[in-house]
Subunit: 423 residues, 2 copies
């Protein structure tokens, strides 16, 4: 095996006890009482505590740690040829407000586990291995999601990212300073040799088919829109229906419309209204303003564009009929991503070599890996989610599946170190 | 004129400058910057400041002031026969969160103006005149609305009312203590000889028909329901539509259903979804819980019951189809009220005698007067609302209409002092 010295990689496997112990310990930070879930919204105090913990583990392994201007943290195990770009893995450790302990965290801690396993075996590699976590992947606090990896690959200028505000007016740059994670490493960051991310599926397919490893071929396109609908606040008892300009009604009509649209478009099309706020939000007052978000996703860009166009047309017609005005803002828009066929093959072969069942599938969620797909050969590995549940405190993946996924990651990363990609 | 001494009542009229000056001064408390509106939610610090101001004015006139256990404040001008029950007027001085300065306040300050006018003229009456304000009429903080007058007439035991909580868990009894308005006067309160309330219309009818005085024949029935819809929070990207249990979608379907229902039932039927909260309320998470209110009103009890039944059936069907559970709670339920024909006639004659145009109409909103209709002869007087707008910072009534309304109130109250009602 070129570029490798030390023990035969085929004898290597990760330590499942250490991996689950670290997942448990990290899950204690921001733990939601009475559940196995946790809440570490990006750049909050709990996110900082989680970062500090994982950073300690990285330091204990003697890895080189760099922190860039958006707070991405990369830990590198050097190779013996310093001119070579690393094989990188990574994910995120921020969560949604009612999140689980596996989403994102698994990819970071399994990456750390891979490096610790390689180090413990005394294997020396020509290429560096790196594991990182990327800021605000969830986008649950600061839009867009995958913010840190987007900045890492040069998809958004750092100065623009630093000015993004959350709903309460807190600013990314200030929050990074506050928790001490605005670093000096430059963005865009160094382009990896290849990138692979291990993640829970967050959907029901692997469990339904009793398959352990998902070989991820690509990621759905994502379209997030925020609408601010302004009508006329008035008395709920005295205003005849024909004289109303009710933005809450318009928001409801949009919500049922996008549900109907998914049925009509079929395929992978999904649509979600996750956020809705009425002003003044009182039982006996017709609202003056409704603010809502619409999340549309599809693996097919043309169908996603059709969904967007029909959604926009419905909003326009309904607003006109009700006599309300609408301000529309794009919070995120990512085209569907296709991963590198060579890396996809390597993942599939690694599953076979480690004795795991596998199937190819697309990712319904956005992931940091899709940003790296812009700059280097990239793919992803999925492990099953019990009941397909994620973004929920009951999110769970069986320990045996965590172990299998991390061993596939180990195999893939070592293969990638000796893989040459002609560009 | 029996029971009256002093100046001829036909020469009397209220002082419009003093009335509007007091409305302006009270409107400064809780004023919403950049508007003529104000926010004095019941039992807040701003409500206390408003109460203190109006109480000072009552004290300056030497009136007998009583405060009962729910914080209703009644100021009485004694008659020369202490055994007789008063002719009472009154309304409320709490507002919604984005309210105007006329809703409720006009009725209280015009009542004060009537008494000051009678006092200034040196008229002595056999019967007392009384003006009061009633706690939490809006129900915008503590359900149900018209809480204070409901307790005054014995419709709700005081001890139950004192335990009602707002959305943040603050309790009526504690808040009354905090602002110093839990009084010693007993509830139910003394039954008045008759009750009449002056209020802005809060709707567009009088202005549309260029009429100054509304002779209110009754009040729409009100049905307030709060639904807590519980589904399954999950990831907005990875969960196929067929596997979703989305309470936000159900809330939206209910919102559009009740709009359609008003069109189908026609007549005076109105329906409003004024409050809706999603949990966790994030762009990329299917909500776990939706909490919403539905406000249904009709002048006809049978049709209101039909609306309620069809609404309940739709909720049940839709919840079952989506696989969510629903908890339903009645926040308020008042049957339509018919005012006393004799008092209605007196209001109509007073409009004619003071040279004002008038028409009979129902009230779309609930008012304290409807509580008094349970215990004594009662009616209401409406003045126009510009553009029909109320529960909004742009709520406005022309000074000439305020004056006309207050003079009709003066005439009606004096007539009622000498009216004998056979029960």
């Amino acid at each position: 095996m070129p570029g490798t010295t030390g023990a035969d990689r085929r004898e290597l496997s990760i330590d499942p006890t250490r991996l689950t112990a670290r997942l448990d310990e990290l899950g204690q930070i921001g733990a939601i009482p009475g559940t196995i879930g946790c809440a570490r919204l990006a750049l909050t105090d709990d996110d900082k505590a989680g970062r500090d913990l994982v950073r300690t583990w990285m330091e204990e392994l003697g890895l080189d740690i760099s922190i860039d201007g958006i707070g991405n943290v990369i830990a590198t195990m050097p190779g013996f040829d310093p001119s070579l770009a690393p094989v990188m893995t990574g994910s995120h450790i921020d969560t949604v407000a009612t999140g689980g302990r596996y989403d994102g965290n698994l990819g970071v801690l399994a990456g750390l586990e891979v490096i610790e396993t390689v180090l413990a075996a005394g294997i020396e590699l020509e290429r560096p291995l790196a594991v990182g976590w990327f800021t605000d992947e969830e986008g649950a606090r600061f839009p867009p999601d995958m913010l840190g990896s987007l900045v890492y690959v040069g998809g958004l200028p750092l100065e623009d990212a630093l000015e993004i505000e959350d709903r309460d007016g807190a600013v990314v740059g200030d929050e990074l300073d506050r928790i001490g994670y605005r670093g000096a490493a430059p963005t865009p960051g160094r382009v990896p040799h290849a990138f692979v991310e291990l993640h829970i599926e967050q959907g029901p397919i692997l469990e339904d088919e009793d398959i352990t490893i998902g070989v991820v071929e690509g990621v759905q396109g994502i379209s997030w829109t925020e609408l601010t609908i302004t009508g006329q606040s008035c008395h709920a008892g005295t205003t005849p229906m024909r004289l109303r300009h009710d933005p809450g009604y318009v928001a409801a009509a949009i919500t049922t419309f996008v549900r109907d649209l998914t049925r009509e478009l079929g395929g992978s099309q999904v649509a979600t209204v996750g956020r809705l706020d009425l002003t003044p939000n009182l039982v006996n007052v017709v609202p003056s303003v409704a603010t809502m978000t619409i999340d549309l996703r599809n693996t097919d860009e043309a169908t996603l564009q059709e969904a967007e166009a029909r959604f926009r047309a419905f909003v326009e017609q309904t607003a006109e009929r009700e006599g309300v005005s609408v301000d529309s803002r794009t919070l995120a828009r990512f085209e569907p991503v296709e991963f590198d066929p060579r890396v996809i093959d390597i993942v599939e072969q690694a599953a076979e070599r480690t004795g795991q069942s596998s199937r190819r599938l697309p990712s319904g969620a956005g992931h940091d890996a899709q940003m790296f797909a812009r700059v280097c050969p990239t793919a992803m590995i999925f492990t099953p989610s019990v009941n397909g549940i994620s973004h929920n405190v009951t999110e769970y993946t069986e320990p045996a599946d965590l172990e299998a996924g991390a061993n596939v990651l180990l195999d893939v990363m070592l293969t990638l170190t000796s893989m040459e990609f002609s560009t």
